[in-house]
Each structure stands twice: as structure tokens, then as C-alpha cells.
């Protein structure tokens, strides 16, 4: 069982590396013989695969800080101009986005999120009777 799972882990990562799929066997064996190579390959592969799909909340926090600084500068010359109002409006918009992002991250439970999309899997089945 363990070997099967390890093979399945290695296989997809090994494939793109080896242009000739017929050499899949020996390459896998080579990884098994030199585990340090395997680890580094998997490590680099993992980094490539993971992609952030939503803006991180701290990135937005930095944007909020920056926009406040800009707004203060814009308003220092003329506090009733359109530029001043537009700058503070941007601060408001970014603050709202920051608090929404924080809320979203706060109540996202990885198991709940997974089960929402896959209710039939073993971890997510509920028995009512």
C-alpha cells in the first residue's frame, strides 16, 4: 500500500521530467536509490504547482497603508479638491476590501470547504438515521 502511494506521488512528477515515457521505470528506480534527488525534485515541483488564487490579506493591508499616505499628501495641498476626495475614497475602498478578505480567511475551514464541493467522499458523509 505504501509503495503504491509513493509511486503514485512520484509518477506524475517524474513524467514531465522524462521526455520518453518508456524510461519511466528506471527513472523511478533511480529516485528510489537516491532519495535526496527525489526530495529536491518533489520540493521544486510542489512550489511550481501551488498558485495563489486570491489576493492575500497582508498584501491588501500594505495597499491600505500606501493609499492612506497618498491621501494625506493629496489633501495637504487642497483639502476640498476632487483629488483629495478621490484619494480618501480609495482608502475607504481598500479598507473595505481588507476587512472582507480578513473575514473570508477567518471563517474558512479547509474541511468544510472541501466537503462543500465533494459531499460524497468518505470524510464528508453524514448519517442522519
Amino acid at each position: 500500500m505504501a509503495t503504491l502511494s509513493s509511486l503514485s506521488l512520484v509518477a506524475p512528477r517524474a513524467m514531465p521530467n522524462v521526455p520518453d515515457s518508456k524510461n519511466g521505470g528506471p527513472v523511478k528506480a533511480a529516485y528510489l536509490n537516491q532519495p535526496w534527488k527525489r526530495v529536491s525534485q518533489m520540493g521544486s515541483r510542489r512550489v511550481q504547482v501551488i498558485r495563489p488564487v486570491r489576493a492575500a490579506p497582508d498584501r491588501i493591508s500594505e495597499m491600505v497603508e500606501k493609499s492612506i499616505k497618498e491621501a494625506k499628501e493629496a489633501c495637504s495641498d487642497d483639502s476640498v479638491s476632487g483629488e483629495c476626495a478621490a484619494a480618501w475614497d480609495e482608502v475607504e475602498e481598500l479598507s473595505a476590501a481588507a476587512s472582507h478578505a480578513k473575514d473570508k480567511n477567518k471563517d474558512s475551514d479547509p474541511l468544510e470547504n472541501y466537503c462543500k464541493d465533494n459531499p460524497e467522499t468518505d470524510e464528508c458523509r453524514t448519517y442522519d438515521n
Binding site: R54, A86, V91, E92, E93, A96
Partner: protein, 407 residues
């Protein structure tokens, strides 16, 4: 006259019109199938078989407008509203993760920020806030809301609140209930005419300041002065363009600081007024004890014990911007479940389907802000009123063609 039988597997949700001899037409729309049997017997000359054409979503989409300051889509009101209809509203799966749209089984919530004509850099260049009508494309808003209302899917632009850019459009299919939420749902009169019901959330300045402090003080870079400056800078545009929309709203939820605690500036206990316009079709205002009279009610006493500062209700007729209205007001907080159920049992015309529905809805979302005061209570009640309005509208539209068939 030929006889055609009409069978529908579910409740008749579409308008069916019957026309004499034309090409046969069977429409297949979401979960609805119409079967008809056409007899080929011709009686006399002409006037042979009757043909039934059905289209789902044909002016069946109920459009609700919600005006609220800054930000939209994920706000508490929307979640409560969609929960009344059942199901949780979520962003469209597989689409832009920064989409502002929320979709559930019955409702789709569209954020009107998506109709910005100027993105963040554009607005900065022109020196215009998002509140200004010049930053919004009302023509596109009108066309797309009209299309969705008549059952046509649209490609709606996406305004990304994080980057401040206009992203590629997403497809929006016409839902049973469309909610348009944002700064200007009632600004343009063409869009206003499309709305079946409109709500305005009026937060007073003190409460707005208190809420923004709660929201932003944890942010780096923000200070009390910056929060104050932000509100002050937006105020002129807000008063000029957003605030006047409240005269057109069918229901206004006004949030004010409490009168029960002298000199309270925490903004935790709130006084909330539900201002309901009289004479709106399919909408009957909520009342306390006796409709049209003026009532002042403190439920805490012998039958109900409340903790400080207690609860105070007020109900009465009034005028609001020249319109006849009824105002239901609640000041204070709910601390226990039995306070909530006690209050609910004394309110009339709340359009619940069973006793305790308001309490159940409030408890379902006990973690939402405002769940222990008038904001949550009135938002839930407005949600039930909208459900009632939707059911009245859809049953009246289904009844009309049946009448035509009998004639």
C-alpha cells in the same frame, strides 16, 4: 375548437400564452417541460389547433434594489436575505475569485460597482469618487438589468475591488430573484422603474464612525484621524448623490445611536427604525398591535425580564419626504432567545410561514453582526416581506394566463 392539455411537472412558474395556428413551439427552460397535445381535427375553416408557447423567466424575475454605502456583495443583509429563501449564496464557482456576484438557488446578487465606467486610476486622474455618477455607466446598468428581468443572460463586467481594475466580464443567467446592491440602484430613473422593491440602509454619522473605527483600527496605517478624514472627504458626494435616493425607497432601515443610554458613544446598542412606505403594491407594512395608531411599547416587565438597557418599541404613522409611511422602531438589544420570540409574537404582518420563523432565522445567523438588535431583526423581516412579495408576484402572473385560457 381544438383542445390542448397542458401539463407541468412543477408549479407553473412561467407565463404561457396561447395563440391560434402558428408553428408549434416547445420551449425547454431550466427544470420545466411543457407537453402539449395538438389535435389535428379541423373544425370548420381555420381556427384549427391552439398552440401554447411558454417561456420561463419571461418577466418573472423579481428585481430588488438595495442602496448601501461602500462595498457590496458579501454584506450581512444579503446573506440574511438569501438565507430566507433557502441556501447559502456563494460566488460563482470556477470564475474570477474576486467576483462580487453571489449566487444561490433562487437569488443572484449583483454588485453595482461592476458598472463603474472609470477604474481606480481613471477616477484618481479625474478627481472623482466612486459615489459620483460620472464614474458609473448607467446606460449599461439599465440595459443589463432590463435584459435579466426579461429572462436574457448577460455578460456583466467585473470590478475588482482589490486591484481597482475592470476585469473581463462574467456570464450572469437570469435568476428568479435579482438583487442589485450598491451605491446607486435608485439613482437612474429608468433603473428605478425596473425595481419591484427597493431598500435603503441609512446609517447615521455617529454609528458609521463607530463601525468604521471597529473595522479599521486593527489596520496598520489607520488612525482615528485618517478614519475621520476619510468619512469627511466622502461626505459631500455622499450627500449630493447617494442620500437623496432614500426618498424613492419602499423601505428605509435607519440606524441611529441609542436613546436608552445617555452619552453613549460606543455604538453597541442601537436604535433602528424601519420606515415603510404605504401603498406599495404587494407590500403591507409590519405593525404593532393596531395598524395606523401610535404605540409605544416596552416588552420588559412582569412577563419578560430584560437586562440593561432593555428594549423599547415604537410604532406609528408618519410622513417621510412627502410620502405616507409607517415607522416601526426598536431601541435596545436582545440578550436571550425568549426576548426575541416574545417580541416576534407581538408583531403583526411579518409574513412568516410559521410561528417563530423570524427567531429561527436570527438564530441561524447568530454570528452575524446585528443579530442581537434591530438591524438583524428588521433585515430579517424585510427578507420575509420580499419573499412574500415574490410569491404574490409569481402567483399573480401565473393566474393571469389561466384566466385567458378560460375565456
Amino acid at each position: 375548437m381544438a383542445v390542448s392539455t397542458l401539463y407541468t411537472p412543477q408549479a407553473l412558474n412561467s407565463t404561457c400564452s396561447i395563440s391560434t395556428p402558428a408553428k408549434s413551439h416547445v420551449g425547454f427552460h431550466q427544470k420545466q417541460l411543457v407537453f402539449y397535445r395538438r389535435t389535428s381535427k379541423r373544425v370548420g375553416g381555420g381556427g384549427g389547433s391552439a398552440v401554447i408557447t411558454c417561456s420561463a423567466g419571461d418577466s418573472q424575475t423579481v428585481v430588488i434594489g438595495l442602496a448601501a454605502d461602500s462595498g457590496c456583495g458579501k454584506s450581512t443583509f444579503m446573506r440574511r436575505l438569501t438565507s430566507v429563501f433557502g441556501g447559502a449564496a456563494e460566488p460563482p464557482k470556477g470564475g474570477n475569485p474576486d467576483s462580487n456576484t453571489l449566487i444561490s438557488d433562487m437569488t443572484t446578487v449583483i454588485c453595482l460597482d461592476d458598472y463603474h465606467s472609470l477604474d481606480r486610476t481613471g477616477r484618481k486622474e479625474k478627481g472623482v469618487t466612486a459615489l459620483d455618477p460620472r464614474a458609473n455607466d448607467f446606460d449599461l446598468m439599465y440595459e443589463q438589468v432590463k435584459a435579466l428581468k426579461s429572462g436574457v443572460a448577460v455578460d456583466k463586467p467585473i470590478y475588482n475591488h482589490v486591484t481597482g481594475l475592470l476585469d473581463p466580464p462574467e456570464l450572469i443567467k437570469p435568476p428568479k430573484i435579482l438583487v442589485i446592491e450598491g451605491l446607486h440602484p435608485m439613482f437612474d430613473d429608468r433603473v428605478r422603474d425596473l425595481l419591484d422593491f427597493s431598500i435603503y440602509l441609512d446609517i447615521s454619522n455617529e454609528v458609521k464612525f463607530a463601525w468604521k473605527i471597529q473595522r479599521d483600527m486593527a489596520e496598520r496605517g489607520h488612525s482615528l484621524e485618517s478614519i475621520k478624514a476619510s468619512i469627511e472627504a466622502r461626505k459631500p458626494d455622499f450627500d449630493a448623490y447617494i442620500d437623496p435616493q432614500k426618498q424613492y425607497a419602499d423601505a428605509v432601515i435607519e440606524v441611529l445611536p441609542t436613546q436608552l443610554i445617555p452619552d453613549d458613544n460606543e455604538g453597541k446598542v442601537l436604535r433602528v427604525r424601519l420606515i415603510m412606505k404605504e401603498g406599495v403594491e404587494n407590500f403591507s407594512p409590519v405593525y404593532l398591535f393596531d395598524e395606523g395608531s401610535t404605540i409605544s411599547w416596552i416588552p420588559c416587565g412582569r412577563k419578560l425580564t430584560c437586562s440593561y438597557p432593555g428594549i423599547k418599541f415604537h410604532y406609528g404613522p408618519d410622513t417621510y419626504f412627502g410620502n405616507e409611511v409607517s415607522i416601526l422602531e426598536m431601541d435596545g438589544q436582545f440578550d436571550r432567545l425568549d426576548e426575541l420570540i416574545y417580541v416576534e409574537s407581538h408583531l403583526s404582518n411579518i409574513s412568516t410561514k410559521f410561528y417563530g420563523e423570524v427567531t429561527q432565522q436570527m438564530l441561524k445567523h447568530a454570528d452575524f453582526p446585528g443579530s442581537n438588535n434591530g438591524t438583524g431583526l428588521f433585515q430579517t423581516i424585510v427578507g420575509l416581506k420580499i419573499r412574500d412579495l415574490y410569491e404574490q408576484l409569481t402567483s399573480s402572473k401565473a393566474a393571469a394566463p389561466l384566466e385567458a385560457r378560460k375565456a
